[in-house]
């Protein structure tokens, strides 16, 4: 039995609405070989070896270095696209509020975000799926939707080139693009090594890039997020999302309970008293250490077919890892109609406590209790969570990650061991939901 759900997708690019089919002789100024020759974009090259925390930070602050430069670049380019009318709506015109309560969940009324057309089908039972060039991917977006290239600098200093050529043959640039259906002001997509057409799966290099971006922005209100397939990623082309919101996310405020500190100096804690169970990684002797530990954990989850979300917060100093099972529950018909009607797909932002609501009545009636109830559905059970943790810790400490079946051979029936499902017949990327 395959699992699929009907999802109402969000359009992230103006070129997404037009579905597949051969698009020859473009003329749309996209990123493929038809149009890419001679294209130029600003290039921001960040300093590679970022010393993780504090220490000699005093010296760093003296420099006239463009600490907020990435902020300025991103905001300036974004505002320019806004004035050009590239976004589907003005997100700042969407009413937003902090829901009264202990955690301060943030609700936004946004009627225009979701498409009003026939929903497409999307497979939810496999976290790893191969890239499909026929489906929408980011090489199909118009160049005007790309704000700038984002790379590590060659010489260890921050560099900015306002008009750098995109050299497809000799380099594999990573880019930052706008999300034309923004959740908030400044909502962008970070697409690592865009021309390599990587599927949505985390690898060490890409995660390090994302962490570096958070550190470069140096703004605790600029966060990056990642959704795996099966955890509400909409496009199977590797990307992270990011935007600004100048209030703390509820998940950032939740108490934590330390689990351990690794040799790399990375501290791992569990979320306590929060509707979704998850781990927090912070510290580390270097940014690279933190990045590697989190990547190891993500890769472990991917290989065990456990959908998850990642939130990079606190300018890259705190990373939240949240395994989830909502899509599977939804496919199995285990989510109440009431929750389904809100059409909220709990991806990383929702789990963090920023919830976009489509209907006015949901917005008016938004309460901490409702938010909690929705998010509690997303969470793994305590038992399953501890099993998953065991997998993660094993992977991080360098032992080979054994396949899930071996580990939970005698687990009770309630365990969501989705690897038990028969693998897909090659060739068909669709999957069916028996609703």
């Amino acid at each position: 039995m395959m699992l699929r759900i009907k999802r109402v997708p969000t359009i992230v690019s103006n070129f997404q609405a037009e579905e597949a089919g051969a698009r020859s002789g473009c003329g749309r100024n996209c990123l493929k070989s038809c149009c890419i020759q001679g294209a130029r974009l600003p290039l921001y090259a960040f300093k590679k070896e970022n010393s993780a925390n504090g220490g000699k930070a005093a010296a760093e602050h003296d420099k006239e270095s463009p600490v907020e430069f990435l902020d300025s670049l991103l905001l300036g380019e974004w505002e320019e696209r806004m004035q050009r009318g590239l976004f589907r709506y003005d997100v700042t015109a969407c009413e937003t509020k902090v829901i009264p309560g202990e955690y301060g969940f943030v609700a936004q009324l946004n009627e225009g975000r979701h498409l009003k057309k026939r929903p497409t089908e999307f497979r939810v039972d496999k976290v790893l799926q191969p890239f499909d060039g026929n489906k929408f991917n980011f090489t199909k977006v118009g160049q005007e939707e790309i704000l700038f290239q984002f790379e590590a600098s060659e010489d260890g200093d921050v560099q900015f080139y306002p008009n750098a050529p995109i050299d497809v043959d000799n380099s594999s640039p990573s880019v930052v693009a706008i999300n034309v259906s923004p959740i908030e002001y400044g909502h962008v997509l970070l697409i690592p090594r865009i021309f390599e057409c990587l599927p949505q799966r985390i690898d060490h290099q890409s995660f390090l890039l994302a962490l570096n971006m958070a550190a470069e922005a140096a703004n605790p209100y600029f966060r990056l997020g990642y959704n795996s397939l099966g955890a509400f990623a909409t496009i199977n082309h590797l990307h992270f999302q990011a935007y600004y919101l100048a209030v703390p996310f509820p998940i950032e405020k939740a108490p934590t309970k330390k689990v351990t500190t690794l040799q790399s100096g990375v501290k791992i804690s569990e979320l306590v008293n929060y509707p979704v169970r998850g781990l927090i990684f912070e510290g580390g002797n270097t940014l690279l250490d933190l990045s590697n530990n989190v990547s190891d954990a993500c890769i472990c989850l991917q290989e065990n077919n456990i959908p998850y979300n990642v939130l990079i917060a606190d300018s890259g100093k705190r990373v939240f890892l949240l395994p989830q099972c909502y899509a599977e529950k939804q496919a199995l018909g285990e989510v109440s109609a009431e929750l389904l009607d809100t059409q909220v797909n709990p991806a990383v932002w929702e789990i963090s406590g920023h919830i976009v609501l489509k209907r006015k009545e949901d917005f008016e009636g938004a309460s901490e209790e409702n938010a909690w109830r929705l998010l509690a559905e997303v969470s793994l059970s305590e038992e399953r969570f501890q099993e998953v943790n065991a997998l993660i810790f094993e992977a991080i400490s360098g032992n080979s990650a054994l396949p899930v079946e071996d580990k939970i051979a005698d687990a009770p029936k309630s365990v969501r061991g989705s690897t038990r499902r028969p693998t897909m017949v090659g060739g068909t990327q669709e999957c069916v939901v028996l609703q």
Partner: protein, 397 residues
């Protein structure tokens, strides 16, 4: 950096009479005073006790943000709590790990109080007292899973650990022991997990705050610009609280914010760069309409164009002749744009000024004028998006 130092001087001198520093210097406690209205929310005063405790000199500390004392062992959630207390302009007390100049870490009880202006109820400074802790907390290292004997003492922001989960973690960790934190790695300082302030230390903090506040209150009476430790009622000449001021303070460009809904659209915020460009001081511009920048030779049709755009709630970019306080004129590449608040409706106008030919616009080396205009507008939008979103301190214990 000199302009920042000048602002720092101003921060104190405009508020308190000149002998305040001497009086503060006499207090034995360790404390710092920061100014949220200056870009970067820097320290504007550091006591002798503080300098001694952390090993820095006064010059190394004044003008810096408090984050320079944080390090790898500093709990990030605590840092976030402090940031939010600043944003919400309220008191906070917690145990915090900081680092001295020589890199050694130490635990302290951190107690912060906002200092409010009696005129308009805004937080004009934050006062932070630090009490070094002597307590011995739980040490880092191999966990003893069996114990009920452990002093499981946590700082004020943590919850009790339930022993079940400790045991469970123990199971997981058992076969991973070899790779977990070992204390034998050279150079790793053995920091305690956490440290709790005792009653005596808490009382020290409270009385220090009281003493310092009374010194500040006294010296503010002498200038007539009274301060107090508690927020009084707000008058509304400067309705943007420190949360927005801090966000806006990150922006290095010259700009002002005017309130669309108040009569004659007064300035409610002016950046440091604006004050520097025009030569006015903050309280000389807050509450006034921008027209004071225009003068004899300012082109009336340009003024009309601006007025029309404001009326239509539309952005516009103009080149206008403006005048500084000293009467000298400059060509201003001005961009104005309406900005919405959290309600989604237009609430403010932002005006971004760039002096034509001015090379003083620091930072953003590669950005064009248009880009700098826009990035300022963008940063303002982000800051105002959450203004009046329904603050109310949401504290999670």
């Amino acid at each position: 950096m000199e302009s920042q130092l000048a602002l720092i001087e101003q921060s104190f001198n405009s508020r308190y009479s000149c002998h305040v520093r001497e009086a503060l210097d006499e207090l034995p406690d360790s404390f710092t005073i920061t100014d949220p209205s200056i870009c970067g929310h820097p320290i504007v005063y550091a006591s002798r006790g503080f300098l001694k405790m952390c090993g820095y000199s006064r010059e190394e500390v004044i003008g810096q943000n408090g984050r320079i004392f944080q390090g790898p062992g500093t709990d990030r959630r605590s840092v976030m709590e402090i940031r939010e207390a600043i944003r919400e302009e309220r008191t906070i007390q917690l145990n915090l790990l900081n680092y001295r100049k020589d890199g050694t870490p130490f635990w302290m009880l951190f107690h912060m109080n906002p200092i409010f202006s009696k005129e308009d109820g805004t937080a004009i400074h934050f006062l932070a007292v630090q009490v070094p802790l002597s307590g011995r907390g739980r040490r880092r290292g191999r966990r003893s899973h069996d114990s009920g004997t452990e002093d499981v003492i946590f700082g004020s922001c943590r919850k009790e650990v339930c022993f079940d989960s400790l045991l469970e973690v123990g199971r997981v960790l058992e076969h991973n022991n070899s790779v977990l934190d070992s204390e034998d790695s050279a150079g790793v300082v053995d920091i305690e997990e956490t440290c709790e302030a005792n009653e005596l230390e808490k009382r020290r903090a409270a009385s220090a705050i009281k003493n310092i506040l009374s010194v500040l209150t006294h010296y503010s009476e002498l200038t007539g610009r009274l301060v107090c430790g508690k927020r009084g009622c707000c008058n509304g000449t400067s309705p943007l609280g420190s949360s927005v001021a801090i966000s806006l303070g990150r922006i290095k460009q010259s700009f002002v914010l005017t309130d669309m809904h108040l009569p004659d659209m007064p300035i409610v915020y002016a950046s440091d760069a604006f004050l520097k460009l025009t030569g006015y001081s903050r309280h000389e511009v807050l509450g006034r309409n921008c027209r004071f920048l225009s003068g004899m030779d300012t082109d009336p049709s340009t003024l009309f164009h601006i007025k029309e755009s404001i009326r239509a709630e539309r952005p516009c970019t103009v080149r206008i002749l403006n005048y500084r306080k000293d009467g000298s004129s400059f060509w201003n590449l001005l961009h104005i744009s309406p900005v919405r608040s959290a309600s989604g409706k237009n609430a403010y106008f932002v005006g971004v000024q760039m002096e034509e030919g001015g090379c003083r616009n620091q930072g953003g080396g590669g950005l064009s004028t248009e880009m700098r205009h826009r990035s300022t507008v963008g940063a303002v939008r982000v800051a105002l998006r959450t203004l009046s979103m329904g603050s109310g301190s949401s504290k999670v214990e």
